[in-house]
Subunit: 337 residues, 2 copies
């Protein structure tokens, strides 16, 4: 198997991606194609022990910045993201992993690879830790304007991913809304609720914002606007809390000692809630395997993202999604829907 890794992506660029690629190649026994500025990648090669790893470089002379807008992204014809996507299109790589600008990766891979047959809107999904395991949020930002049948397709894709990659039988599908009762929600969710209720999926009804981390559902479906806000709010709460805690603790010697004694345990929790540990977001429904990691990923997170890409390919998620979506259309066709 060959996985292309965007060497230029992420907050730290080749320094972290190359190290992650080495670790991944070794651990998962696969070939990694590092896509990026050749000289910079070679410089990193000199710093790491590459024994038992299989790496090659695919030169890409341009890099896309983390905050770069779509207009300038479109102009860069030799960006590492574009060339990475082309490697999948041309059958030279089985998957593409980037820690880069999410909007740019979504835009470019959609343009170059297109959607799987029958999929109207590929969606960005992300595994987040919950009290009971992992929950998949879909969509977390690829589609800001959705119709009810899009949410139904997201549910099918989330179901397929969780059952085939995580081995969860009949994953519980929840619909993100503002109350558990069927009557709660906006026009979009109410209509999506009716569709999901009629589907053969294991639909457990509406879930609320607080249920993202409670483990009540295995998959939580929403439009990309709502999902993105839910995710960013979570990040904001955690950041603010730690900032306040640090400020408060530094004021008092006993609190400082207390913090020192708790440090190891707090780190364990942090590791548990840190979703970069889980490999990154998946672009589901696109015609090619594409994993987008968090910009602040360290080399272990890069390695995990490659591992996730491998699982994705090995479990034939793409093929399964296409079949499930075809079945959905067939069912709706029969029902006259």
């Amino acid at each position: 198997m060959r996985v292309a890794v965007d060497a230029m992506g992420g907050d730290f660029g080749p320094r972290v991606t190359v190290e992650g690629a080495v670790k991944a190649s070794r651990e998962y026994e696969l070939e990694v194609l590092l896509v990026g500025v050749e000289d910079l990648i070679k410089k990193e090669f000199e710093k790491v022990n590459r024994s038992r790893s299989k790496l090659s470089i695919v030169n890409a002379s341009e890099a896309i910045g983390m905050g770069e807008g779509i207009l300038s992204v479109r102009k860069k014809k030799k960006s590492s993201i574009r060339i990475g996507a082309q490697l999948i299109r041309d059958g030279e790589a089985d998957a593409f992993v980037s820690m880069g600008n999410t909007a740019a990766v979504v835009y470019i891979t959609k343009a170059i690879l297109g959607a799987l047959k029958g999929v109207e809107k590929p969606a960005l999904s992300l595994l987040v830790p919950s009290l009971k395991g992992l929950t998949l949020l879909i969509d977390v930002g690829a589609n800001v304007n959705c119709r009810p049948h899009h949410l139904e397709q997201f549910a099918v894709m989330g179901h397929t991913f969780m059952s085939s990659v995580l081995g969860i039988k009949r994953p519980r599908i929840g619909l993100m809304s503002i109350g558990e009762e069927e009557s709660k929600g906006n026009e979009l969710t109410k209509e999506a609720f009716n569709r999901l209720k009629e589907s053969p999926l294991n639909f457990i009804g509406n879930v609320e914002g607080k249920d993202i981390y409670s483990g009540k559902a295995d998959v939580i479906v929403s439009d990309g606007f709502t999902g993105n806000i839910a995710l960013k709010v979570s990040e904001g709460v955690i950041e603010t809390f730690f900032y306040m805690a640090r400020t408060e603790i530094m004021k008092n010697i006993f609190a400082k000692i207390g913090f020192f004694l708790m440090k190891r345990n707090l780190k364990k929790i942090y590791k548990k809630v840190d979703y970069t540990e889980y490999g990154g977001a998946q672009l589901l429904g696109i015609n090619g395997v594409c994993i987008i990691g968090h910009g602040r990923s360290n080399s272990n997170a890069v390695k995990n993202a490659v591992g996730l890409a491998k699982d994705f390919v090995m479990n034939k998620v793409q093929e399964k999604i296409q079949n499930e979506i075809a079945e959905l259309s067939h069912r709706l066709g029969q029902a006259g829907g």
Copy 2:
């Protein structure tokens, strides 16, 4: 001034509301009308020291449960919430405070009091603590389906509340979206962005989910669906984090000691982030002052909610909102919008 308090509301009912009412009457030197089952309220009267407080009881034979649906809420003609709203309508109270079922309070007060002239959709707003002070979120759940001009009205009402009650000059208005750039957002927010840009408000553009607690804006505007999810996600993150921390800390004796040493400081932070401290949500744009506290409010939170109601009345927020909304319509009329 007379403030009606729903004695039956909240997770703890009269045990907490009566004590809160006594504290409020004493501290703010106003009369509190306790609305609820007379016998239950009288029983609580025997337990508390009511010196220097001015209280009276308005009997209401029914109570609405925290999880009760709107259908059953409509049938209860003698509920404490309904009678509380009628006291404002009939000029017997200047404001109404309830810790009860939010959906029920919104539904009943809208039905009995109606909206202020010119206001299309009264909205639920809530002050949340940020790193720099307090931020007002509007709407956090009263209106799940909104049009762009509704968001503009929410912005005007939020502006009026923050400038008149909190004394913030030219409050910074942010629009909740999924990226700072004007181009980021869904159909609703993009159109609302254009309207806000043209308004005389101090509009600072889009803000993201993580900015709720950063203090970047004084007012954050969203539809009620998005706002409610943002709020519930925040609660869920905090609850999950504390649950994980407790579990992790209990495993280790050093961590336990550490926690003991930090306890006082953690409590301080908790007090800072606990938004029941700030008095509760305001129903802005309704024809009467109505504050809805959190169900788990203690007696201090009840007192704070009454204090907020008093500030609301003293600062003539209702009159100001009506004037500002009239000005908005006038401006849009002139612009042909």
